[in-house]
Amino acid sequence: MVNGVTWGSVYALIALGYTMVYGILRLINFAHGDVYMLGAFFGYFAARWIGAAQDPNPFKAVLVLIASMVACGIVGVIIERCAYKPVRRSSRLAALITAIGVSLLLENGGILVFGPDPKFFPQIIPAHEIRLGLGVTISNQQVIILLVSLVLMVALRAVVLYTRTGKAMQAVSFNHTAAALMGISVDRIITFTFMLGSMLAAAAGVLVALQNPKIEPLMDIMPGLKAFVAAVLGGIGNVPGAVIGGLVMGIAEVLVVGYVSPTYRDAIAFVLLIVILLVRPAGILGQNVAEKV
């Protein structure tokens, strides 16, 4: 159960990135899951570089996290500027394919650059268990994952609701033209959104690597896709929805693995997806936008 919530918060972090980008650009950023993978890798290199495993302390761990987030933020911006901006004017299918192309590029580029063998993420925070009573145990790593996720999500919400940039983001997601007419630099906001989303994905990558230290360039396809489903579950374009979607996803998955069969773990994501799209396409918290005739 705790596992479910932990994974759920990870999915939520990634889902937030998807949902924000979709809200602003109506684009399903397939490459987002790969940014998550990059996050884990950047964290890996950062940890190696500052020797976080030799002498683990929270300060270094935070440094690793921040380094990875910054690096991925930059990657996100690069991707947006080079690949997505030029196709913004084209059809939706073209944008979708570009996103898929970027995703493939990151994955295979990763294989090329990092080598296909999995690396082992150093233990920058040693693990030990905490007994909570009622037969529930939780590892300190899971606590950390939950805490960090929570902090990040709250921070994001604060940014979106209370800062000028955040409000500009909301405006752009409603209507590009209107936002532009009000003096908002739509381009900059879009770039900023990508950066934020990528940073969150990076954090997710590092957090997951904490608990599951084996990382490889193709590790991300599944969590990425599942996070996307989570975003849709919660209502794509809707920030709190992404969080809820992530949690539902994580818990559902764990339940299926526990009670049905581990091999169906991946399929549950898609079954959920299809059910939700058929029953309530707007997602749990989403709103239907009708087309004007």
Binding site: R26, A83, L96, A269
Partner: protein, 328 residues
């Protein structure tokens, strides 16, 4: 009368090539040629859904998988029985074999068509992106299901499928799918599909039953994908769920997009190019996918409508263009 003559002619040419080609081409090139043919069928069939009707279907590999596995199961379990019965009726072995293969292919195609119907019908209410996700999800679910069904080999793969598919059969189905596509395009039904792509609301308001036509596109497209799958199964003689991943769907989409959504000739050209290219790049194995993905991105940025847009390559048009260029 003319039409019958033409049909016989085509069959004759295919049979002749079937006999002659292996003596000219070494097995490697034969394999590439066969794979090209299968890719063409896949691309043209997807073009019906994505290109003609403008629906974002990105799980095409799932339909291919259904066709592949169903036809393989048929051949493995019922194939021998069929051949015996047909031989008993006096048919020579090659014909009995061909007839059994045809039956297997049709059954696989029909299964895929049913799958297409089941996927299409409920999803058609959804807008573009959502439809894309559902089709993606379906493709993945199929793959996971297959990986879990022991009777078809699950993750070990399904070996021992009779390798009856040769150039003749692949070629024949290429001709069929291209013919159907092109004739459909230049008919009122094709126009209805294009109308749905251009403006669904207007099409509906003018009397086009958009739901039925979208389902039709799905069913037709998935039927031929199933045929392609069946051909692949009976050529490769071995099936593994990993041949039908999301990546495969993407490859087919890339072909349709490269060729220009809506253009049948474009899809054919692109299918051939995109089948040969990875083979040609085989030497640079690791770079292959990187180049491929870069190409996708660059293509979308520079020419999102594909090579041919929605126009068809045709001799008269080509000649007209030459004349116009020279005249002015």
């Amino acid at each position: 009368m003319m039409r019958l003559v033409r049909a016989v002619l085509v069959v004759g040419v295919l049979l002749a090539l079937n006999r002659l080609l292996p003596s000219f081409l070494n097995p490697y090139y034969m394999r590439v040629l066969m794979l090209c043919g299968i890719s063409v069928i896949l691309a043209v069939s997807l073009n019906l859904i994505n290109g003609f009707t403008g629906q974002f279907s990105i799980g095409h590999a799932g339909f291919m998988a259904v066709g592949a596995y169903v036809s393989a199961v048929f051949s493995l379990h019922l194939g021998a029985g069929w051949m015996r019965s047909l031989a008993a009726l006096g048919l020579p072995e090659s014909m009995a074999q061909g007839a059994t293969l045809l039956a297997a292919l049709l059954i696989g195609g029909a299964a895929a068509a049913v799958a297409g119907y089941l996927v299409g019908l409920p999803s058609l209410r959804l807008r573009g992106d959502y439809l894309a996700i559902v089709t993606l999800g379906f493709g993945e679910i199929i793959r996971v299901l297959i990986t879990n069904i022991d009777a078809v080999g699950a993750a070990r793969g399904l070996p021992g499928i009779p390798g009856w598919a040769n150039f003749f059969w692949v070629g024949l189905w290429v001709v069929v799918v291209v013919l159907v596509s092109m004739r459909l395009a230049r008919s009122t039904h094709g126009r209805a599909l294009f109308a749905i792509r251009d403006d669904e609301v207007a099409a509906e308001a003018l009397g086009v039953d958009t739901t039925s036509y979208k389902v039709l596109a799905f069913v037709l497209g998935s039927f031929f994908a199933g045929i392609a799958g069946g051909l692949f199964a009976h050529y490769n003689a071995y099936l593994h769920p990993n041949s039908f991943t999301f990546l495969k769907s993407i490859e087919v989409i890339a072909m349709v997009v490269l060729g220009g959504t809506g253009s049948v000739t474009g899809a054919i050209l692109a299918a051939i190019v995109l089948t040969i290219l990875p083979e040609a790049l085989r030497s640079a194995q690791e770079l292959r996918m990187v180049i491929y993905s870069l190409m996708l991105i660059v293509l979308m940025i520079t020419r999102p409508q594909g090579l041919l847009g929605s126009r068809e390559l045709s001799w008269p048009r080509f000649l007209r263009r030459r004349a116009a260029a020279e005249g002015s």
